[in-house]
């Protein structure tokens, strides 16, 4: 799939933002000053909003975005949009109270639950796609949620669970890759099933339908070189998991945690890029690409 910067930015940033909301809702940073609480809340909301704005850039008709809230009964995207908005509203209320001195945890819990669901809904947009076998796995929401929780934890300065989250994230990411690398093959979709021509022998594209470009090729058929991908996996893991672990395990220093959070976010962007770039849409089969 085409790794569109707007979507990568959206899912990564808003993911961290929602993760932050989860932790703040659950009562993280109990001894934060008013100012620090304000910063944290603004950061959470800001990340979410920046992500949502970035996602608007991806739309062909951004001015009609309100319509996207209407189909929550069937569409994960609609659910995501509705959940994201509700989360923001609930969290805003919670944050306003907190910053003004009252930390009303039931409301925080509610915001956290909504944020969790939002991230889940985002992940389900991808996980539901049979057409992209690599995405169609429980690992997709699990990893999306782990990213949210880890990023959120790092930015919220949560200590205890963070190393464990980082570890789990690294481990499951590796599992997801190993699984994902064979997902297309396992999906059973081949050029033979795509064309029904398996009887005749092994079909092969002789001539594409157009020598010109088209939307499908640009959007669904993105080919990353194998070596390039392998290198990026390592870089992504090092940034998202290894360095943050190395930074936070030995020390409790705020600065280290902040740096860890930022490095992690960078890694998350790289890995999210790979999430798209490495996902093969079955339509590529028709174009002789996989």
């Amino acid at each position: 799939m085409h790794p569109a910067p707007s979507i990568i930015a959206f899912t990564t940033l808003s993911g961290i933002g929602f993760g932050l909301i989860i932790w703040l809702g659950l009562g993280a940073a109990p001894d934060a000053t008013h100012l620090y609480a304000l910063i944290l809340c603004l950061l959470a909301a800001g990340l979410v909003c920046a992500g949502l704005l970035a996602s608007l850039l991806h739309l062909g008709q951004p001015t009609r975005f309100l319509k996207a809230f209407s189909q929550w009964r069937t569409s994960w995207l609609s659910r995501e949009a509705a959940l994201a908005m509700t989360t923001l509203v609930v969290f805003a209320l919670y944050a306003a109270l907190w910053v003004t001195g009252t930390r009303f945890l039931p409301l925080g819990l509610f915001a956290a639950l909504l944020a969790f669901k939002t991230v889940f809904a985002t992940a389900m947009i991808y996980a539901q796609m049979r057409s992209v076998p690599r995405w169609r796995s429980v690992l997709t929401p699990v990893i999306f949620l782990l990213f949210a929780l880890t990023g959120g934890a790092l930015f919220a300065g949560v200590r205890g669970p963070t190393p464990w989250l980082l570890g789990a994230l690294g481990l499951l990411q590796i599992v997801a890759w190993l699984w994902g690398d064979r997902a297309l093959a396992r999906s059973g979709t081949t050029l033979a099933t795509a064309t029904g021509l398996g009887e005749m022998g092994r079909p092969r594209l002789l001539e594409p339908p157009h020598t010109g470009q088209n939307y499908l090729l640009k959007e669904m058929v993105f080919v990353v070189g194998r070596r390039h991908a392998a290198r990026l996996r390592v870089i992504g893991l090092v940034l998202a998991v290894v360095i943050p672990l190395a930074l936070i395990l030995p020390t409790e220093g705020r600065l280290a945690v902040w740096i860890a959070a930022d490095v992690h976010a960078l890694g998350a962007l790289v890995l999210r890029w790979l999430f798209f770039a490495q996902a093969e849409h079955v339509v590529g089969l028709y174009y002789g690409k996989r």
Binding site: L206, P209, T211, G212, N214
Partner: protein
Amino acid sequence: MRLATEFRSIRHDSMREPDVPDTAPEIRRTTCYMCACRCGIDVHVAENRVHHIEGNRAHPVNRGVLCAKGSAGVMQHLSPARLRAPLRRTGPRGSGEFREISWEEALGIAVNWLEPIREQHPERLAFFTGRDQSQALTGWWAQQFGTLNYAAHGGFCSVNMAAAGIYTMGGAFWEFGAPDWERTRLLILFGVAEDHDSNPLKIGLGKLKARGARVISVNPIRTGYSAIADQWIGITPGTDGLLILSLVHLLLTSGKIDLAYLMRFTNAAWLVDQDPASPGFGSFLRDSEGRELAWDPARHRAVPAADVARPALSGGFNVGPTHVKPVFALMAEAYLDPALAPEAVAPACGIEPEVIHRLAAELADTAFNHPITLDRPWTDHCGKRHETMVGRPVAMHAMRGIAAHSNGFQTCRALHLLQLILGTVETPGGFRFEPPYPKPVSAHPKPHHKVTPGYPLDGPQLGYPRGPEDLAIDADGRPKRIDHAFSWEAPLSAHGMMHMVIANAARGDPYPIDVLFLYMANMAWNSSMNTAQTIGMLTATDATGVYLIPKIIVADSYSSEMVAYADLVLPDTTYLERHDCISLLDRPISEPDAAIDAIRWPVIEPERPGAEGVRGFQSVLLDLGVRLKLPGMVDANGKAIYRDYADYMVRHQRRPGVGPLMGWRGEDGTGTGRGAPNPKQLARYIEAGGFHIAHVPEEAAFFKPWNRAYQDWAVKIGIYDTPQPYLFQLYVEPLARFQAAALGHGPHQPPDALRERLARAMAPLPVWYPPLSDTDTDTYPIHAITQRPAAMYHSWGSQNAWLRQIHGENPLYIPGALWESLGFEPGDFARVVSPHAEIRVPVARMDALNPATVWTWNAIGKRPGAWSLAPDAPEATRGFLLNHLIPETLPTGLSNSDPVTGQAAWYDLRVRIERIPAEARSAPAFPSEMSPVPRAPKLVKFRAG
């Protein structure tokens, strides 16, 4: 009428307001010209804008369907490459630098150039036309001008097919005949990709598929029609003649031939002079009245063939001092030869002997075990009534795959021989002619070449020579025509040899010319052999700096590669903006069951805002004729006889009562084919959808050459003035006469250097010989050919925003085994070398391909800057032409053509191939030209209204 666009889509609970244009589109019916198939189109027009184009359901050619090009007509009509005004060259030739001038200035220049030539040496005007479909006009104009140097594109196209068909059967495949789609059980295609009859072929194939009839394709490449064929025979290029003669051999050795048909409808029994000492050696034996004789075994003597029911078909006889043999006896001698056994020919053909055996068996089985009998009485030309029409449901169709080789004429002849021994021509289930065919050679003119300064030529330039005396050569035997047509180099070059004009003119062989006038031909690019050198010839100058071809006039509608080499450009309209005439005098659109002609008319008014504007070329040609005071175009007072082409279409008469259009003739419009000009004729055509159809009567539908009802009908509608029954010519006497000359007989003698080649090529019974350029097959083991893509028409499809997305570049397809042995990987390039030049091009693998053949799509490559495309368009950077590799002359200096007809031997090309890593662009790369038209838009949002 109500509007298609008024439709409201119910996609949602709320309805959306449709975009309703202010004026309702109106359907204007005209004729497509995105290719030469000439389908009927319904053009939906409002406010002088095209909304869309659909097939005309009532049209006999396409019955409502349209091909990709036809539907993309809108985009061709709106092409940014459209010329806007007459152009005068300002930079050097090829630079593309022009100044827009007025029509007055343009025509003035043309007259200034042409007038003195006409007065002094009319032959110094060479007027050649490419995709021209008004040859009746252009040929006549050239004749009135007085030059012998006129021809249309047939010489580089498929004259082998045409000439072989006409000399053998009085009609050809091409677009002049068709399989009996309704009845045939077996269709064999030889070397057909798109053909001129594109939609009828597809419609027909669809019918065969629906009926479960079998289709076999003989073609080195399996695409298009071959892809859906039930059997594909991946023959090695240039060897079809061998395969066909091997089939003839098998059918003869097993007695699976239609003897009755051969005796009744062919010259199988005619006696041939076999006496090498006789002056008539090789000719038919005739009586004093000129009647051909056959041997009557009952009376033991030669009698007029028509008078003997059971002539001898074998043996040899002495008639007086002359030894004679029936044609059939010569055939038996030639084709029973074991050298033609499948086992002997198969290796050369690149197929298994089994395949040939099986094909022969299938032919015999279908022809003889499944005859078709129609309960349709008919009367033959002798007055004998037959209660039924019996046919053999085997049909064949062939095109350039066999024609575009230097052995193509003989191969086409061989194919006709095969059809004839099976008894499948003009019988139900077989191959059928389309009026005005059948038409024997005797009904065609001979070539004319007598030039008289200031006067018209003595007759039409093109024709069918009957013997050496009809050649266009001077007393020393040298060519009189600039293209060397009708010379010893190519005696039967019935369509001229357009591909030789530029090379010969640049060499001044046989003489220099002054003006080269090209219409609708992209001779600087895809229709020239040896493109790079041709460009060199167009730009070469003599010692004084004058171009070797001093003046070039080009009539084109678009900014083609050729336009850049013109000194004067006469901008034509698009096909939706002018009158055209698709005439029975020319290349009509008939079907086997009907004579059909058609028109185009301006369904859109030409608009070229801000520029001088364009004019229909034929009208311009007539205007030029008037300014030059050409006879037939001006009256005694020097006044124009015809206002414009539309007027000419209606009022011109070739013979009294016979003019360009056959429909609604006579003052009252009731005449078909014959009748006085009718001023309302064009209106009637427009009313009727742009065409006129005259149905062949049922009893006249088959056996046309011998069918009295057909002959009478043909006379009635003006195809000829008297019935012209004739027999098919298995043995072609004009060929024999040339062959005899080559062997030293007769007063007209070829140069010694050509004797051997003529003796072999002019064989009166079909033969096979290897393509003439097959001299170093070890160094150049691979055949290289092109095919037409269905969605592109030669060079002119690339300016089409839609079509160019489908074919914007072309790889060289390499057969799987070769691909692997040379270690190709996707993305690689190949260096392809012919004895003459090299190219470096992108490659792709293909398995359904003859293992010794590579190929690519025709005419996709473009010169940077032409056609209003960006100079870095893929057509220019990755697209390529095979033409660079094809020389226009053989090492002998003779043209790279069929030695009989002069047909360009495009598909004889042989190469060797190497793998090279990917390059940035294909080579040779040409410098970019300036575009004589404004820049093309980036974005296209085609939306009518």
